[in-house]
């Protein structure tokens, strides 16, 4: 990250002059950002100041059990200063015997999930808000907090009886682990007739404890392979994000050629992800011919990824300090040929898709997310750009080789499903453009840095623009060649709360497309429960039934 030193000093002085009496300590750390240490009592005021007056958005929150090193629990609130490429990190410590914080959800609505997650995994309590079981399963015992350092990573506590009330009578459990579909997530839509009035989300069925694994069992150079398995579509994004975070914490100089190769692969990944999404969107709207042709084009990008890395997905070539596999001239030529073919074919396909009145009519004006809500909920990626927020990590926080290329950030102001579709269509062409520029300028040199030394207790924050939005990793380095804390925040985490706004007062038939329009990282909303408010009846609609509604959850296959 290259941030202007004078600018940091200016912002630092501004904060000190306006809120200096509330701050314990303020300092700049390269690789992380401007850190502001505040006491618990002043957290709300500083959060309000940073979020509203400085006009930032909440990027991630990391709760850390720092008892072994500092004797306290800590919470790191990472705010992003749009357009300056600077993170403002508000740090607050809690004594170990009373880990409690004031809630900031009324000031920063997007902090909601982070607070619930900290409550579940670290046992930090929040005042002035409702706390409930969120990430952990219902039969997990009270008082066992997985992310605390004294909890071993392989702990298997005895399940306790679930507190949740279950109706009597015979039950047939179908889902959330649905046999036919991909990933378990669960939405409850409250409807009045055909109109959606409220949405409840019940997720984290596939919480795999990857952060804990990365902190306890894996070494620095093994975590990239684990990070790659966080997501099946944008795996390389996570591995790059992790390696960048460690590199910025340890101030490792990465060779330029490695940065270029990373950028090229990130764009190849974006190509295939957007083509996948456009295909699925067509399928959802009942246009299966478009789905098949989008995937026909996508297949070429998958083969290209395999040629460049050795694997269609989970490329496995990224390490802290560089990459493992080089690109030679033959591969450059093959890549140029493929992206030219993709560009021509996709141009033809887009012309057809956007000319079909049924598709345009169903996407236009549905699932609207106004700009003000988008800002308040800190949404990211194509969802933010379709709502008029020009937010792109590649421009705002330049990483890898993006500073060497010029590209446009497509922004639409409508905020509807069509806008989100068009943002992705435009981005496909931009990606092709970026890959061309990168291949032209590919510098010579090594692909792995020689010296890799990682100090203890260094903080690193890094973000990568995934196809779905901004992915951000927060690391604290530790001893024994292992991480102390690794916080992963995937883009869907920020975007799901926005669905509440999008779905409200919309017809039920538009719900699947709207849910899919944020390109949720779970490949499928496996089932939707419909509660009819006028009769109070609750029934769960199965996959087949949904198809009868002429809608089907995003599954693609």
């Amino acid at each position: 990250m290259t941030v202007n030193k004078e600018l940091i000093e200016k912002i630092r002085r501004k904060i000190v002059s306006e809120k200096g009496d509330l701050i314990n300590r303020i300092y700049y750390e390269e690789g992380a950002g401007l850190l502001i240490e505040v006491s618990r009592g002043n957290l709300r005021e500083i959060a309000y100041y940073v979020h509203e007056i400085l006009d930032t958005y909440l990027r991630t929150v990391a709760g850390v059990d720092e008892r072994p090193i500092k004797g306290v629990f800590s919470a790191y609130y990472v705010f992003g200063l749009d357009g300056y490429g600077l993170n403002i990190i508000v740090v607050t410590h809690m004594p170990p015997e009373d880990p409690k914080l004031p809630s900031i959800t009324d000031i920063v609505p997007s902090a909601d999930w982070y607070e619930l997650e900290m409550y579940d995994l670290l046992g930090i309590r929040f005042s002035n808000r409702k706390l409930y079981r969120f990430v952990l399963p219902e039969d997990w015992p009270e008082g066992v907090y997985p992310l605390r350092k004294d909890t071993p990573y392989n702990i298997r506590p005895k399940p306790v009886k679930s507190q949740k009330q279950v109706l009597s009578g015979p039950r047939i459990p179908v889902g959330p682990y649905h046999p036919a579909l991909h990933e378990p997530e669960y939405f409850e839509l409250y409807v009045e007739g055909e109109r959606v009035v409220d949405v409840e989300y019940n997720g984290f069925h596939v919480h795999r404890g990857i952060e804990k694994l990365g902190e306890s069992r894996f070494t620095y150079q093994q975590v990239p392979f684990l990070a790659e398995r966080i997501c099946g579509i944008c795996g390389f994004v996570h591995s790059v994000c992790y390696t960048q975070a460690v590199e910025s914490a340890a101030k490792i100089e990465v060779p330029e050629r490695a940065l270029f190769i990373r950028s090229i692969l990130l764009e190849v990944e974006r190509l295939h992800s957007h083509l996948l999404w456009i295909g699925v969107a067509c399928h959802l709207l009942g246009y299966d011919a478009g789905f098949m042709h989008a995937w026909r084009i996508r297949e070429k990008t998958m083969i290209l990824a395999e040629l460049l890395t050795g694997s269609r997905k989970t490329y496995g070539i990224n390490l802290v300090g560089g990459v493992k596999k080089d690109i030679n001239n033959d591969k450059i030529n093959a890549t140029m040929k493929t992206i030219e073919w993709v560009e021509n074919e996709f141009k033809k396909l887009v012309e057809v898709i956007t000319s079909i009145p049924q598709i345009v009519k169903r996407a236009k004006g549905t699932g609207i997310l106004p700009r003000s809500d988008a800002r308040k909920l800190s949404v990211v990626g194509p969802v933010a750009r379709a709502s008029g927020l020009k937010r792109d990590v590649r421009k705002d926080y330049p990483y890898a080789a993006y500073k060497y290329v010029s590209f446009k950030v497509p922004v639409y102001s409508e905020g509807d499903n069509l806008a989100r579709l068009l943002v992705r269509v435009d981005e496909v062409f931009e990606s092709i453009n970026i890959i061309r520029q990168l291949l032209d300028q590919l510098p010579q040199g090594p692909i792995m840095s020689e010296e890799i030394e990682i100090p203890e207790n260094a903080i690193g924050v890094s973000s990568v623009e995934a196809p779905r939005g901004e992915d951000i990793h927060f690391v604290i380095t530790g001893k024994d060649n292992k991480l102390y804390r690794w916080r992963v925040r995937a883009p869907t985490y920020q975007n799901i709360p926005a669905l509440k706004v999008m779905l409200k007062d919309a017809p039920l038939a538009d719900a699947p497309l709207t849910i899919a329009s944020i390109d949720p990282c779970f490949s499928c909303t496996d089932r939707i429960q419909v509660v009819d408010l006028s009769t109070g009846k609750r029934r769960t609609i199965s996959f087949k039934e949904l198809q009868r509604y002429n809608i089907c959850p995003r599954c693609g296959l």
Binding site: F225, A289, I303, E306, L308, G316, K348, V352
Partner: protein
């Protein structure tokens, strides 16, 4: 005219033709760079365990017994990253293009390389390292030939005896 635009897809489809490859009958679509399972050449392997150290998913494990050192490659855990092939000092590991590895018998997924340890040339009973490893050491450091076949304890004993015979420094016990 605009209403006819969606029909353009027919033209695209006609020009493209059939793209599906009848895979099990026809060869799979893999490129020259594809990484499948690994094969360890037992005659080259020296049993150093570098691959075991680097393996991110613990697909490669090492087991030490009195007279054997066994390196086990369990395909079920392998993520095909190829890190082991990169670190192997004698290039005993090759990455193949095999990926159709489904089996009914889990034993098929275990590939073992068994190294028998050499008997010490001095005491004739203790075993310390595989033959290939000793050869590798001697090739790298020719002077090691004089002691490479000796077990660790024998080496220590020889060193102490050498001291006693005045070859080297005298060891005086601190009071």
């Amino acid at each position: 005219m605009n209403k006819m635009k969606p029909l353009k897809l027919l033209d695209i489809a006609r020009k493209t033709g059939v793209v599906t490859i009848r895979y099990p009958d026809k060869p799979p679509l893999i490129t020259s760079e594809f990484r499948g399972r690994i094969v360890i050449d037992a005659s080259k392997c020296i049993g150093c365990g570098a691959c075991v150290n680097i393996c991110p998913s613990n697909a490669l494990t090492i087991k030490e017994t009195y007279d054997k050192r066994i390196i086990n490659y369990f395909i079920g855990r392998c993520i095909y990253c190829g890190s082991c092939a990169d670190v192997c000092p004698v290039k005993a590991i090759t990455i193949t293009k095999d990926f159709e590895l489904a089996t009914e018998n889990i034993k098929d997924l275990n590939n073992k390389v068994v190294h028998y340890k050499v008997v010490c040339c001095r005491c004739g009973s203790e075993r310390h390292a595989p033959e290939n490893m000793i050869k590798f050491v001697i090739r790298r450091v020719p002077v090691a030939e004089t002691y490479a076949h000796m077990a660790t304890n024998c080496k220590k004993r020889k060193f102490v005896e050498g001291m006693l015979h005045g070859r080297g420094m005298l060891y005086v016990e601190a009071k």
